[in-house]
């Protein structure tokens, strides 16, 4: 059951990969709530859609690998440029000439790609808990990924073999690190459920897609011209606050630091995130509106 059902939905087919999208509301401009890591699908925006759709046209879609989209086992559709082009395909299919992308975690690189390569389509960009290799990540996360695991504790579970042996246990661990706030049992249960809708095989294929290096990310940041808002929690155990800070500096954007928030404030502090997003969208210059 949902608080708000979509007003329109459909599929786009690009290079043989079918993606499912949904459209809510009709106010300008369009907000493109992007997918993130394939471990979840578009329902992770459930606390944003009903509110934002009262004020704006909201487009969400399941990225390749989860939800109602295809689950390719070829790494190609999961690469950064491919993801950027999939986002464009959804904008085209929904008739959104321009939009405000809102991205969480690893989708930040796809949003940056859009800003650098299709600046005429991006009115402004909201980043939440961006996971971008602009600065080093958390120390504790640096565990061997492609070697057989010798420990099953903590981040050792983030491992090619462990995922295949104990996928659900990995999900439970990972989301416990995403949701560090007290009273997160519901969002953890939701996210584990969405994680079970895909598979270790899909995550492994995605992991084999090429990653964008730091110099390229910096060049994209420098090329960005649109207004930027970065929202980052101080207790983000997945991607440290310094990464959000670095993104805001590199793009000349605003930074909102959320005290005590973890990696997914849109689920645990939805009112704050919704108001910040709406304020940002309404602050965009009139001339930039279609």
């Amino acid at each position: 059951m949902r608080a708000r059902e979509p007003d329109a939905e459909g599929y786009v087919d690009r290079d043989g990969v079918k993606l499912h999208y949904e459209v809510f509301g009709d106010g300008e401009p369009t907000l493109l709530l992007m997918p993130t890591w394939t471990i979840v699908h578009a329902r992770f925006w459930k606390a944003q859609v009903p509110y934002l759709a009262r004020h704006h046209r909201v487009v969400t879609y399941d990225g390749p690998g989860n939800g109602r989209s295809d689950r390719p086992l070829d790494p190609a559709p999961y690469g950064c440029e491919a993801q950027g082009r999939l986002a464009l395909a959804v904008l085209d299919a929904t008739g959104a000439e321009r939009a405000v992308p809102v991205s969480l975690s690893m989708a930040s690189q796809w949003a940056l790609w859009l800003m650098a390569h299709r600046p005429e389509r991006v009115l402004g960009s909201v980043f939440i808990g961006p996971s971008l290799a602009l600065t080093p990540g958390h120390q504790g996360r640096q565990q061997p990924f492609e070697e057989p695991y010798t420990s099953t504790e903590g981040w050792a579970k983030y491992n090619w073999y462990y995922w295949q042996d104990h996928y659900q246990d990995f999900l439970e661990f990972f989301f416990s690190q995403c949701f560090t706030e007290p009273h997160s049992t519901k969002p953890i249960e939701d996210a584990v459920g969405w994680g079970l809708e895909t598979s270790a095989a899909v995550l492994l294929a995605e992991n084999d897609a090429p990653w964008v290096d730091q110099a390229t990310l910096r060049a994209w940041c420098a090329a960005s011209r649109c207004p930027v808002l970065v929202v980052h929690g101080t207790k983000d155990q997945i991607s440290p606050l310094r990464r959000g800070r670095a993104l805001a500096e590199a793009t000349g954007g605003g930074l909102v630091v959320m005290e005590g928030a973890g990696h997914i404030p849109l689920a645990r502090d939805p009112v704050k995130v919704n108001l910040l997003t709406r304020e940002f969208v309404e602050s965009l210059p009139e001339g930039s509106r279609p």
């Binding site: 007290p182 009273h183 049992t185 519901k186 249960e189």
Partner: protein
Amino acid sequence: MTALRGRSPAAQAAPEQTRARYPDAEGFVERDGVRLFWERYGDGDTTVFLLPTWSIVHSRFWKAQIPYLARHFRVLTFDGRGNGRSDRPAGAAAYTEREFAADALAVLDTTGTGRAVAVGLSCGALWGTVLAADHPDRVAGLVVIGPAVGLAPPHPERAVHSFLEPLDTDEGWARYNRHYWLRDYRGFLDFFFSRCLTEPHSTKQHEDCVGWGLEIAPETLADSQQGLLLCGLESFRDCCGRVRCPTLVIHGDEDAIRPHAQGAALAAATRGRLVTLAGAGHLPQARHPVKVNLLIREFVESLGGRAR
């Protein structure tokens, strides 16, 4: 006179949480030497009176009702004797349903409230019913949620252990025991609220309730528990028969504290409407607040001019 017992050190250390809505007026009313703390939110001709329940919690248990209802009605609430900012008299006699009903009347008087729609949760159904029966001119309608009324048998597991006698077990409802309370009060609160909040994802509501529970001393809570036992079933049945105002009973069908049959019996005894919340436990106002708020609002609006 009032013998005051202090709040527990843990509760004294905990700062109050921020609120979605702050009262527009507040104050104390004193009745027979016991000071009661009340709050008023919003304005308007129609008053919704959120009654206290068992003194194991105080008026913040209405936190999910107040901000919504106050947008539509004048909302009045107070801390029941024994908890919150009200006094904590000693002795079981200070905690009978008659005392709570008289406190409620004093709050209506001191706030200049002629008539109100009374809303009671659990034990609050006792004093809500007494108030409606004895003061029909002051109560325009009565809503009770998960009523703790002896009109139907209790859950069998709750009838096993003595409250006053020492027990040789601390398992389950054996924790509902005075000796256990004095030995491990926190353990009792954790158990009791786990049975109140049987819905998944209740950690926040559980933490809130345990925190409020720590604001009353176990000795005082034991007094209040004994006071409630003084409520005679026959006189309560008589009260139900004298209720003339419209009533609404809301009861979860998974209430592990008070069987749904008790709510059904109260609805029948007061010729009221029964709404059964599927899957809900004993505190639906906390775990299903939107549903409960809408039911209260619809009920109040259905009374029309009679509620003013």
